[in-house]
Symmetry: C2
Subunit: 339 residues, 2 copies
C-alpha cells in the first residue's frame, strides 16, 4: 500500500535525492508520507486534549496526558504497519525493536535482503513537561536502512529523519541523506490531510554563516548543571556577554527547529556528575544530529566532542548529552566544555 502524497511533496523529495531517488522510491513515496500522516494525526489528537493542562508538577498530568502519549504512539505504529517497506520499529515508549510487518520479514528470510527495507525509531511525543502550558512540542522519527538500528553505522544507515512540530501551525522538518546524493533538509507545512495536502514551505533548510545572521541564539539545556560545572557557567556567561539571544523552551524539537528556521542557533545539553545524560541516543540524538548535519550544522557529544553519528548503538536505551547547531558555535561550546 502506498500512502498518498501531494505531487508537490513527491516532486521535492525526488528532487532532493536526484539520481539516488530511484533506489529509494519506497522511502520517498511510502515511508516518509506515512510518517507525515502520523504527524497530522498527532496534531489533531493534541488539539482536542485540553485536560492535559490539569497539572501542578511534572507528574501530575490528568488522564488526557496518558491519552495523548498513547495516541501519538499509536499514530506512528499505524503508519508503520500500513507501510510494508518498514520491517521493524521501536519507540522511546516501547524500546524494543519489533517486527513491523511479519509477512515482509518472512519474505526477506526466504528471498534475501534485496529491495528496500527500513527500520523506524521514534519518540512519539517529546517535551511532555511543556504540554500542560500549551507550548510547542514535537515528534522525532529516525529511518534506518535495513532490518535494525542496532550496531549499524548511524552516519550512513540512518537515511532519513522527520521532526513533527506542533505549535500554532503543524510543521515538519524532513532530512534525507542516502549514498550518492547530497544531504537535503526541507520544511513542510501540514494542513488537514497529512502528506496529501501538505505544503513545501522551504525546499532548503540551512543554517547560515554566523557572519550573515542578523541574530545569534543559544539554548542552554539543563542549566542547573552550570551551578556545579564552572565550564558550563563560563560558556553561558560568554554567550550572554557576546549578546546572543536566549531562546530555551525545554522541548528538544522546538529548540532545534528554532535554530533551523532562524538560520542560527546552538543547543547545549551537558552531562555532569550531578546531572546524568537524559537524551536518548536512538530516539532523540541520532535523528536530531542527521537533521542538523543535513542543514549544514554539527552535532557532537559534550563528553568528548565526538560526532554523535560516529558511534553505533549497542543498546536501544543508551543516553548521552548534546551540543548541536551552527558549526562555528558548536566548536565554541565543545572547546569550552571538553577543553
Amino acid at each position: 500500500m502506498t500512502n498518498q502524497a501531494s505531487p508537490e511533496l513527491l516532486h521535492h523529495l525526488h528532487a532532493a535525492l536526484g539520481p539516488s531517488a530511484d533506489a529509494h522510491t519506497k522511502l520517498l513515496e511510502s515511508v516518509i508520507p506515512g510518517l507525515i500522516d502520523s504527524i497530522g494525526a498527532i496534531a489533531t489528537a493534541l488539539r482536542k486534549a485540553h485536560h492535559v493542562s490539569r497539572a501542578g508538577g511534572a507528574n501530575a498530568f490528568g488522564d488526557d496526558q496518558l491519552n495523548v502519549d498513547v495516541l501519538a504512539e499509536q499514530a506512528v505504529r499505524d503508519a508503520v504497519s500500513s507501510c510494508p517497506a518498514i520491517v521493524a520499529a521501536s519507540s522511546e515508549e516501547d524500546p524494543v525493536e519489533r517486527s513491523a510487518n511479519p509477512s515482509v520479514q518472512e519474505e526477506i528470510r526466504t528471498r534475501g535482503e534485496d529491495g528496500e527495507h527500513y527500520t523506524v525509531a521514534f519518540d512519539p511525543l517529546d517535551g511532555s513537561s511543556i504540554i500542560a502550558p500549551n507550548w510547542t512540542v514535537g515528534t522525532i522519527l529516525g529511518v534506518w536502512q535495513g532490518r535494525t538500528a542496532l550496531r549499524q553505522d548511524p552516519a550512513t544507515r540512518q537515511v532519513a529523519a522527520v521532526l513533527g512540530v506542533y505549535g500554532p501551525r503543524t510543521t515538519a522538518i524532513v532530512a534525507l541523506r542516502v549514498p550518492g546524493s547530497e544531504p537535503a533538509c526541507l520544511e513542510l507545512g501540514l494542513n488537514e490531510h497529512g502528506a496529501r495536502d501538505c505544503a513545501v514551505v522551504r525546499s532548503q533548510v540551512r543554517l547560515l554563516d554566523p557572519e550573515s545572521s542578523s541574530a545569534r541564539y543559544f539554548a542552554p539545556a539543563n542549566l542547573r548543571a552550570a551551578s556545579e560545572n564552572p565550564r558550563y557557567m563560563d560558556l553561558v556567561s560568554r554567550f550572554i556577554r557576546e549578546r546572543y539571544t536566549l531562546r530555551y523552551s525545554g522541548g528538544l524539537v522546538p529548540d532545534v527547529v528554532h535554530a533551523l528556521v532562524k538560520g542560527h542557533g546552538v543547543y547545549v545539553s551537558p552531562v555532569t556528575a550531578g546531572s546524568k545524560a537524559k537524551l536518548r541516543r536512538l530516539y532523540e540524538l541520532y535523528p536530531i544530529a542527521l537533521v542538523m548535519e543535513c542543514a549544514g550544522g554539527k552535532a557532537v557529544s559534550p563528553a568528548d566532542g565526538s560526532r554523535i553519528l560516529d558511534r553505533a548503538l549497542e543498546d536501544l536505551n543508551e543516553t548521552a548529552g548534546l551540543i548541536c547547531g551552527t558549526a562555528e558555535d558548536v566548536e565554541i561550546a565543545k572547546a569550552a566544555l571538553v577543553g
Copy 2:
C-alpha cells in the same frame, strides 16, 4: 447583540463574580465571549499561515506574517464592533483610542454614563519573533470599565484581562476583578467555535506557595542586558545556583502562562541603560499584571519596584520593564534589581 457562550462558560463566569455578576452581565455575556470568539478566529488564521516561516532575521517574514498580524487585529476589531457594550478600543498595532460603536457613544452622551460601557486595549499577536519557528504565541486583551483607559486607576478600572494562547491547543486565561467580588482567574480550552463550545479547563488558576511547588521556574527576558548590568547577572546566577529550571520562549504570553499552569514561575524583564523598556504598559503590562494578581502573584516595575497597576496611563504608547510571577520570587528579583 449578545454573543453565544456555552452554558458551562457562563456558569463559571457568573460564579466567579458572585453577587457582583448582576452589575456586569454585558461583560460576562457579551464582552468576554466576543473576545474569546476572536481568539478562536485568530487560531484558525494562524493554523493556515505556513508561509510566515520564510524567515532569516526578525524582519524577513513573508507576506503571511503581515497577513496574520492584520487578521488578528481584524478578528478583535470584529468582536469589538459586534459588542455594543464596548465603546472604545485601541491596539498595539493602532495605538489610538477610537470610538467602537458610535451609536452607543451617542447614547451615552444623551442619556449619561448609566449602564455598562467598556474600553478594550489589545495586542493582537504578541511574540512575532517566534511565529516563524512555530513556537506558541499569544493575544493580550485588557478590558476597562468606562470610555477610556487613559488617566484611570488601572487597579480598579481594568476589570478583566484575557490571554489567548496559540500552541498545540488553543487555550485562554480569563482574569476578572470587579468591585465587590474576589479576583478570579480561569483557564479555558477552545474548540472549533470560540465561546460557544469552549471548555473550562480550570476554574481556579493559582500560583502556589514555593514550598508546595515541585519545581521552580525562571524566565529571564532581555538576558543580554545582564552583560552590562551586574545586578541582573547576579540574579540570574542566583536562580541557576538555587536550581531553578529555565523556561524562556521569548513570548510574553507563553512565558507567563507557563508559570500559571505550572503553579510557579518568575519572569524578569529589566530595563538598563543599554536596553530600553520594550513592553507596552497598556497593551502588555496592565493585562498581564491583572492576570498575575488574580492568580495570587505579583507584577512590579524593575525600575523602582512599584506595583504595575498603581500607575495610571498618561500616553497610550508608554513602555516599561516587568517583574512578575510567584510573589516570593518577585520580591527576590525586586530586591536584587532595585536594591
